[in-house]
Symmetry: D2
Subunit: 286 residues, 4 copies
Amino acid sequence: MPTEKQTITLLISCPDQPGIVAEVSRFIFAHQGNILESDQHSTNQEECTFFMRIRFGEEGFTLSPTELHSKFQPIADRFQMQWRVSYSRERKRAGILVSKYDHCLVDLLWRWKMGELAMEIPFIISNHTRLEGLAQMYGIPFYYFPVQRESRIADEQRIVDFIGDTVDFLILARYMQILEPFFVNTYPQRIINIHHSFLPAFIGASPYAQAFTRGVKLIGATAHYVTNQLDEGPIIAQDVIHCDHRDNVQDLIRKGRDVERRVLAEAVRLHTTDRILVYENKTIVF
Amino acid sequence: MPTEKQTITLLISCPDQPGIVAEVSRFIFAHQGNILESDQHSTNQEECTFFMRIRFGEEGFTLSPTELHSKFQPIADRFQMQWRVSYSRERKRAGILVSKYDHCLVDLLWRWKMGELAMEIPFIISNHTRLEGLAQMYGIPFYYFPVQRESRIADEQRIVDFIGDTVDFLILARYMQILEPFFVNTYPQRIINIHHSFLPAFIGASPYAQAFTRGVKLIGATAHYVTNQLDEGPIIAQDVIHCDHRDNVQDLIRKGRDVERRVLAEAVRLHTTDRILVYENKTIVF
Amino acid sequence: MPTEKQTITLLISCPDQPGIVAEVSRFIFAHQGNILESDQHSTNQEECTFFMRIRFGEEGFTLSPTELHSKFQPIADRFQMQWRVSYSRERKRAGILVSKYDHCLVDLLWRWKMGELAMEIPFIISNHTRLEGLAQMYGIPFYYFPVQRESRIADEQRIVDFIGDTVDFLILARYMQILEPFFVNTYPQRIINIHHSFLPAFIGASPYAQAFTRGVKLIGATAHYVTNQLDEGPIIAQDVIHCDHRDNVQDLIRKGRDVERRVLAEAVRLHTTDRILVYENKTIVF
Amino acid sequence: MPTEKQTITLLISCPDQPGIVAEVSRFIFAHQGNILESDQHSTNQEECTFFMRIRFGEEGFTLSPTELHSKFQPIADRFQMQWRVSYSRERKRAGILVSKYDHCLVDLLWRWKMGELAMEIPFIISNHTRLEGLAQMYGIPFYYFPVQRESRIADEQRIVDFIGDTVDFLILARYMQILEPFFVNTYPQRIINIHHSFLPAFIGASPYAQAFTRGVKLIGATAHYVTNQLDEGPIIAQDVIHCDHRDNVQDLIRKGRDVERRVLAEAVRLHTTDRILVYENKTIVF
């Protein structure tokens, strides 16, 4: 398999108006960038917002990161853009938080080792010690941070202090704790959670038990960015699997694991490849 | 295509205990019935309930319907069974209620004409006149029953009076009215509704608009028996389709139509072939 | 539902090189076009080919169709583009050919009436008279063109003579005849067929019977452009449905109808919205 | 999670005739067995064959394995049954063969450790040493058996000699070798292979490259019993995933891994729970 060429990705949002695509693509071309992918979307409401993702080859592009910033900013100002740039050679750093269940972590680590997920994993944090061996197997530092009901805030503060800005985003790979607002606010739109239901159905605890009681004919999983409204953050990816009356709660849990790990991995893949823009508690996934 | 052989179907539920399958199958065999399908299910709770569907050929079976009843009742009594029997040559009579949207009705009528749905359709009732032509095309009597907010109970009473017991079950093929309790109670577990969301998400009005606002990545449809808790009756069938940020509410409606009609048709097929048993607000679908 | 705004779509393919997106988007912007959608793709082979679909609003665009042609051609020449343009207000004309099975036709006509398929249907041609009533119901001229084994070429010639260039493309909605090469060559990449298997499995006649014999656990349907290699033209859309040992050939046919009609409708929708480019017997579907 | 109760499963096939279900269920009941599941199927051809799977609790059942055999054989003789019995407390022994790719093995071992697959794994055999560490991690003996083109028969003979009858079945978890007829014949209907296409499409080598060349819009995987016709044995399970023009061969391989491991695990689960009967190169999966 040949080495992937390095690329640069621009993510842009701004009020819609004619000329944005022309100007951005002209800018890239003027500095010898070859556009590889270009996606755009406009909301169809009164105040139309425009979103764009454009990916171009780094090889041959004549601007350094600093130059790119200083030269693109005037364009951004003209169109009132919010924008960010990322370089594929700077792999994102993903901190993983887990509790006791291993299926999402096993899957993420295996995909990561296979090269499916372009990221670094500086650490795995858990409120249990059970998965330490798994982390070691992949050579990833594992840190045990117990969280107690009565000292939750202090416990979480220690985690945030530890993490600081050593990561680009966090993955809650079935981390069975509700994060405090100060924690969530430290990493806005940068914490990906997997919830084991097709949200907004079955918010909160024990969604498989809820699903069993309701007698649904499909169960699902939802990956979303964490906000301070429980299970109500912007949805990144969802999928379902069929079930029937033969499935008891244990069966739903078993079937659900397959969906959870697949949906979480997909969300992480989308995030690491800069394909997600958040807009009004929704995501645009290019 | 050869003529389908006529069959008899027994649906049974009772407290679980050994010997039920043996006794029921012995009974059928003793009277020359050849068992074609047999399904069973036991709930795995403290008080275990047993459910069974057994279908056997009518040809050669030596008992008349009256004899079947009188001779099977002692077995039913012994095992405290609730049971019912149906004959495939007595096609179920399905009354259909619609409003203005035609996609579910178009699909049901086409499938019915194709022979996919073994039932009679004695009438189509609507609170609008728009779909009268469609009914006529298939030669089905169409009755216009307007329902006004201020006279809802009287209006619905006229419908119930009209229907009486001329049907075995009712299909709400996007009938955009909430039925009064007396109406629902007249046809318990005999009214099939299609709700245009993957319940329990998006109960109530405008589920596609709700789905758009929430930013879900899949939309769905749910066929269920109507109870007096809005959209909370026993679920018969569900399915979903993927969507993304490019889909506005109109797109969700368009995509959703495909799922709605498929899920409703499946639920009707299951009902007409006596494959559904209701248990604690859930369904067992054999 | 508000009236859709009219749009113009450019479809382009050319050898890949930097600057294409910049130049095309500059051109559109220079003439006051507001870009609504833009998709691109490059083949990753030695001789890289670039494909682009760009859709922009017609309102405000300052070039007439003739002007657009003459002013864009120099750009096209410079980049060695193959290109075509289409206007949404000029709905494509789709001639439909059917035999006896009605499920695809019923579905296409219903979707068309609902506004899901932006096209005109100047005629329906059939080698049987069975579906004439259906055509009449939708007010579409129906023509009976019998095709005999011994006079096939002459029979098909009469069809081609009749159609001439009164259509933009043809839909074989389960037209159970293999078209002669001269027929296919008259409408290259403009005849959409639905084959009732997941190609390349089960090429040729009776795919459901073949599927039953092989004992597959899923059946499918494939919409493709017709070429002179039977069932080997560029694939536009495919889908499958699960089946099991309980399904006999009739069941497979019944289940398959649902997939066939959905896949064919999707392919037609993609074609009418200029989303398909053909490349080396494959399709790029934007 | 409570301990699963131990069960006994009977798998039966015989010429169809009335009374089979009655007799088998009577037999089980007469010896105090409580039937938990019962499935049956009849082929609808001239010479009708009947298939049955019946599972009942071992607790309370009054016959020892030897007694069950001797007392059931007269019934089997009367109905000309082929039959076998299995006890859930005797977990099946599954030998696994792999080459270099680890995704199927990783998934099988993880599911096995989670309790999803009720079997023993006495060994893992490979023609490469790459996956030895993975085997050790799960404490499973790993044996390296190189297979050379020029000594294939002798090499495979050594494997068969080694395995002997220490297993109940074999799993080819992407074992990239075509087995010699004598090997296959040693374990008839007891070798499960995963083929990385939706068979019968893309038989043989490099199915993803074949799929890319053909331009299909979905790729799949097929688990089947190995016979001496390459990739033509009885299909146990199949599934697909959508793909499009953006997917190159590497992407198809990546997407396909997800389907392969899921389909193989499902087939193994079905085999270990005695849910599969083979009939005329097809499977009946209860």
